[in-house]
């Protein structure tokens, strides 16, 4: 009689569990079947009235029913939990084709980019990076570079003069002098920076431009060493083997002085519009440091020698990126700057 009641309760509860539609419904089944006032609890209370052998059999029966129901409840509960999670996650659908909020990365100025590249390159070759003032004295900009007053070479660089007799440096070369004075020989330095010439601005001329001055002073420095550094440098800049040539050039702070040309990277030599059909592109002036310059900076030219070069950063940037109008570089137009 009790046997049947237990089995009946078990099968009825299992059916209710199976058909439960919600966690709440399931909880109701649990209370009805296993709760304090449930059938099973009633039955176990009645156990005391039974004979000992009967008690053990019914006890096993009750335990088995309880276990079955608990398992079924657990399984069903898990099913509900999973369904709920699935539903929640599904509701969390997002459209990942929407743009991400927040600003995008900005852009470094193209001159900064190339300048940094060169700084890193030279530092790796043992050169130090120096800065000098943009407002210079006549002495540092000219005299100390072997360009005394009334020297016609002063015409090569149209100068912005300032009240008080100072000037805006016409090249980064004065930093050579500062470097020699400050650090003495041996010395390997570069000085990238802004320089100024009093020129009208058009697509290929600027009154404000960037140069990278370089200098090495050591016991034995030859034209062959200069060539080595220039070739190494230019190969790294252009990321390909470049052919260079030196030809005579006059700059009072070097002797001998050179213009360094590279074989045209566009046509490779036969001549094209870029190289004006010559096969070569003038890239940088350089030379062995004039002994007068060393002497004025307190370095004995009989013991030390050096080379120096002046790379036109602005020009290099224009070449690297194919920029056709120099005015873009200081125009502040984001449509230009965001391309780099």
């Amino acid at each position: 009689m009790l046997d049947e009641s237990i089995q009946e309760l078990e099968s009825r509860s299992l059916a209710r569990i199976a058909s439960a539609k919600s966690p709440e419904e399931l909880e109701a089944v649990r209370v009805d079947a296993l709760g304090r006032k449930s059938g099973l609890t009633q039955f176990s209370r009645e156990m005391g009235k039974l004979a000992p052998e009967e008690r053990s059999r019914i006890g096993k029966l009750l335990n088995s029913a309880k276990q079955k129901l608990e398992e079924a409840l657990e399984v069903k509960k898990q099913q509900f939990a999973e369904a709920a999670l699935r539903a929640r996650l599904d509701a969390e659908w997002v459209d990942l084709t929407l743009p991400a909020p927040g600003p995008r990365r900005g852009h470094l100025h193209p001159i900064t980019r190339i300048q940094r590249e060169l700084e890193e390159l030279f530092v790796s070759l043992g050169f130090t990076v120096l800065d000098g003032p943009e407002v210079e004295t006549e002495y540092y900009n000219f005299d100390a570079l072997n360009i005394p007053a009334e020297h016609p070479a002063r015409d090569m660089q149209d100068t912005f003069w300032l009240d008080g007799g100072n000037l805006l440096r016409t090249h980064t070369s004065p930093v050579q002098v500062h470097g020699m004075e400050r650090l003495g020989p041996p010395l390997r330095m570069i000085a990238p920076g802004r320089a100024f010439r009093n020129e009208s601005v058009d697509a290929s001329h600027e009154h404000t431009f960037y140069q990278l001055e370089g200098m090495m002073v050591d016991r034995e420095v030859s034209v062959a060493h200069l060539l080595y550094f220039m070739k190494t440098l230019l190969t790294a800049i252009f990321k390909r083997e470049v052919t260079v040539r030196l030809r005579p050039g006059y700059f009072p702070f070097v002797e001998p002085g050179f213009e360094l040309d590279i074989q045209c990277l566009i046509c490779g030599g036969p001549g094209c519009a870029v190289c004006k059909q010559s096969g070569w592109v003038e890239l940088l002036p350089c030379g062995l440091v004039n002994p007068n310059v060393l002497r004025m900076s307190g370095i004995d030219p009989e013991e030390w020698g050096g080379f120096a070069f002046g790379l036109g950063l602005t020009r290099l940037v224009m070449m690297r990126y194919g920029i056709d109008d120099i005015r873009h570089l200081q125009g502040g137009d984001l449509r230009f700057l965001e391309q780099f």
């Binding site: 600003p103 990365r105 900005g106 852009h107 470094l108 001159i111 700084e119 530092v123 043992g126 130090t128 990076v129 800065d131 003032p133 943009e134 407002v135 004295t137 007053a149 009334e150 016609p152 015409d155 090569m156 912005f160 003069w161 300032l162 009240d163 008080g164 100072n166 805006l168 390997r188 802004r194 009093n198 020129e199 009208s200 404000t208 090495m216 420095v221 030859s222 034209v223 062959a224 060493h225 060539l227 080595y228 070739k231 030809r247 005579p248 050039g249 006059y250 002797e255 001998p256 002085g257 213009e259 004006k276 062995l288 004039n290 020698g305 570089l329 502040g332 137009d333 984001l334 700057l337």
Partner: protein, 779 residues
């Protein structure tokens, strides 16, 4: 400087290099060529032709001319020249047939300008030749243009003979000497020369000629001058220009009858002395200008320009020919002072060779005989000069030369090269040359052994030197912390969406004033490119302002920044150059009214990326700032330091922004860099848990959250680990004009876990403290 190929070929024996290859050789060994231009192309086919008849073409200015063109036969040409008339001999060029005004014109009659003889374009050339003959002495030429900068140091290369010497040396050919010194008469001069200061005028040579006939120069001479870029005027002046173009010796001819007295004085101008020059200009001189003078006053501005009062004219019959040498610096100064650069001053400022004056006169004597037949010299050459000792020979050890070049050069090769350039070479000891410098290279150009490295190097060819790595000790180069820091700043701003701009160092007075900067307090450019670029910027703001305005035309919103130097004049010495960063965020109003301060906070956040813990402290706005939106930026860098003002955060006054808003951050990188340099230092992670609680302070709407936070923190005591702003709120149940600002405080001890009583005590202390200051708290 323009070089006539024909001229050079005349001076170099057996020169058979075509202009193109010659130009390349010159570029590689001597000076930079800027290109070759054909001159007198028509001359190749031109011939003298007689105009037989002329017939006007109705309703035009042109005529139909029948010409006898020698080997080309009779031709009909249409000609527009007013001097086209029957009987004259002109130049015919067969350029093909074309119909002009309905008349078939077969070829053309050419002007002297078209032929490249001179610049005369007023009519067709009138010749004095046989019909069919080529144009006498005039040949098609190639003009090699040399970059003036590349011959700044070479006084000798300002004449064809100097360039011819280079060509002869490069090719191993013989150089012709155009000046025949034995033509110089050395009898008593017919004019006296008195140089006041031999340093300013190291040599003055002069010779008087009479029986001068002024007329056009022969065509060949005009043709040469034209190729060299000089303008033919008349025989005497053309001859002086010819000598200058050939020997680099500027010359001047005075009308001898217009000179007062028989003495030429070379003296400094008197203060205020007036001088009327050949160009019609009147100059007021001072003693820094050297003049050539007669008894009555200046007749030429030495080395720059002749005077109008003694100029050659059609009436001239006697001339004084001047061939002088002047101190380069003095000429340059004068030429710069009166803003007049002439062919003469350009040469003199390169330090011409004093030995050249008499060569010039010798060459002139020969030329004058041809251009002014019947002319003859009166008396001998007047020649006053400074005795200039020959410079000491240069000691050149060949081994040293090789080390400088980085390649071996045989001694014999060194000698050959130097001798081909007319240096004197003696081998005083084995492997060492004693090199004497020719006078035309000795004025400024070559004075030390390094100069000879160039001579030998360029002639053996720099392309023969193989690149070679130097043997130097490996070493770590000294760092540049300022520059490194600026690169880091750039990275931070770029990462936060800012694009880098570069602006000019020049600003206008107007834009300075727009930012409350007094124009007078700026370093001023005395020769600005334009009047609106006359001041050196003491702030990057005007530049960024322009960037904002320009880009706002194309963009709804953007972020940009610049790192650049502010230049502040100092009482003495060079100006202070202070690196600044200015960053801006611009946005149109369409962003919505609630967001109007978002850009300011974005800038503040970016500033904190650079300077963790930086604070904004509201300050009184400057006139260009939004009056309720400006703050100083304070930072102390490492803990324990005092806060410094390092910049400013503000919104541009709406007056300065046409549409939208622009928030701006201006930082003094020179102040920040040392603060940022502090190295991190490790402190052990706390072993005992901290406790946190929230507090909300009720305050008036415009009380600063930062002030409240500082006050709360001050009551928290030493166990406060951190205080963090959570939110602020206004609205019910708070009263009108009130807000509630909430903070989360974290307290703890490195030695133990705080008891709940201790935490409560701290909390109560804060609440009491704040109440003491008059604040209610929502707890």
């Amino acid at each position: 400087m323009k070089f006539s190929y024909n001229w050079i070929r005349e001076l170099v024996e057996d020169l058979d290099y075509a202009p193109g290859p010659l130009e390349r050789l010159i570029t590689m060994k001597t000076a930079e060529c800027e290109g070759i231009e054909a001159a007198g192309v028509l001359l190749e086919r031109a011939c003298a032709a007689r105009v037989e008849s002329v017939e006007a073409i109705p309703d035009t200015h042109n005529v139909k001319a029948v010409v006898d063109a020698g080997r080309y036969g009779h031709r009909i040409v249409v000609c527009g020249a007013t001097n086209c008339r029957a009987g004259i001999i002109s130049a015919y060029v067969p350029i093909g047939k074309k119909i002009i005004h309905g008349v078939e014109s077969d070829g053309m009659l050419a002007s002297a300008a078209e032929l490249g003889i001179n610049r005369d374009h007023s009519g067709i050339v009138e010749l004095d030749s046989q019909v069919g003959a080529p144009i006498a002495g005039c040949l098609a030429d190639s003009v090699i243009e040399i970059d003036n900068k590349s011959i700044t140091h070479r006084p000798d290369l300002w004449g064809h003979h100097g360039m011819a010497r280079e060509v002869a040396a490069i090719l191993g050919l013989k150089l012709r000497e155009p000046a025949k010194l034995d033509l110089l008469p050395w009898s008593a001069p017919a004019i006296q020369v008195r140089i006041e200061d031999l340093n300013l005028c190291p040599r003055y040579s002069a010779l008087v000629f009479e029986n001068v006939a002024i007329r056009p120069s022969p065509l060949w001479l005009q043709c040469r001058l034209t190729a060299a870029g000089l303008n033919p005027i008349g025989n005497i002046v053309d001859m002086t220009n010819f000598v200058m173009a050939e020997l680099a010796q500027p010359m001047h001819a005075f009308d001898a009858d217009l000179i007062e007295g028989d003495t030429i004085f070379i003296r400094p101008a008197k203060a205020g002395e007036h001088f009327r020059a050949l160009n019609g200009e009147e100059y007021k001189l001072d003693p820094s200008n050297l003049v050539i003078a007669d008894r009555s006053g200046a007749i030429a501005l030495a080395g720059v320009i002749g005077g109008a009062g003694t100029a050659i004219s059609d009436k001239t019959t006697r001339v004084v020919l001047e061939s002088a040498n002047f101190q380069a610096a003095s000429i340059r100064k004068t030429s710069a002072a009166i803003k007049l650069r002439t062919d003469a001053s350009m040469r003199f400022e390169k330090s011409q060779d004093p030995a050249n004056t008499v060569r010039g006169i010798a060459r002139a004597i020969e030329l004058l005989r041809e251009v002014s037949p019947g002319i003859h010299a009166v008396g001998g050459v007047a020649d006053q000069k400074k005795e200039i000792p020959a410079p000491p020979p240069i000691r050149l050890p060949v081994a040293w030369l090789e080390r400088k070049l980085g390649r071996a050069v045989a001694s014999a090769e060194v000698r050959r090269i130097l001798e081909s350039l007319e240096f004197g070479v003696a081998e005083t000891e084995p492997g060492v040359f004693c090199v004497s410098v020719p006078s035309w290279r000795a004025t400024k150009d070559v004075s030390m052994k390094d100069d000879l490295v160039e001579e030998v190097g360029r002639m053996v060819g720099y392309d023969s030197i193989a690149p070679q790595a130097p043997l130097v000790p490996a070493s770590v180069p000294p760092g540049n912390p300022e520059r490194k820091f600026q690169h880091e700043v750039r990275n931070i701003f770029v990462d936060q969406g800012f694009t880098e701009v570069y602006n000019y160092s020049f600003i206008s007075e107007e834009s300075a004033r727009a930012f409350g900067l007094e124009p007078a307090a700026h370093v001023r450019v005395t020769n600005p490119i334009a009047s609106d670029q006359a001041l050196l910027r003491t702030s990057l703001l005007p530049g960024i302002w322009r960037n904002i305005a320009e880009n706002a035309k194309h963009r709804e919103s953007f972020r940009l920044f610049e790192i650049g130097l502010e230049i502040h004049g100092q009482a003495s010495g060079l100006p202070a150059e202070i690196p600044h960063l200015v960053a801006a965020i611009y946005g149109r109003q369409s962003d919505g009214p609630l967001d109007t301060s978002a850009s300011l906070f974005e800038l503040k956040r970016t500033a904190e990326c650079l300077m963790p813990g930086a604070q904004a402290c509201p300050v009184e706005a400057r006139p260009f700032e939004h009056p309720a939106r400006s703050a100083s930026i304070l930072w102390k860098g490492a803990p324990g330091r005092a806060c410094e003002i390092v910049g400013r955060l503000f919104e541009l006054h709406p007056r300065l922004v046409e549409f939208g808003r622009a928030a701006i951050l201006d930082l003094d990188l020179r102040a920040i860099q040392p603060l940022a340099a502090a190295d991190a230092k490790y402190t052990p992670i706390r072993r005992y848990p901290s406790a946190a609680f929230d507090l909300s302070v009720i305050a008036a709407m415009r009380e600063l959250a930062g002030t409240l936070e500082a006050a709360v923190a001050s009551f928290a005591g030493p166990l406060l680990e951190s205080i963090q702003f959570l939110r602020q709120y206004s609205g019910p149940p708070l009263g009108e004009g009130q807000k509630s600002v909430s903070f989360r405080l974290t307290v703890g001890s490195p030695e133990r876990t705080l008891s709940s009583e201790e935490v409560s005590e701290i909390r109560a202390r804060i609440i009491d403290g704040m109440r003491g200051l008059g604040y209610e708290l929502r707890v």
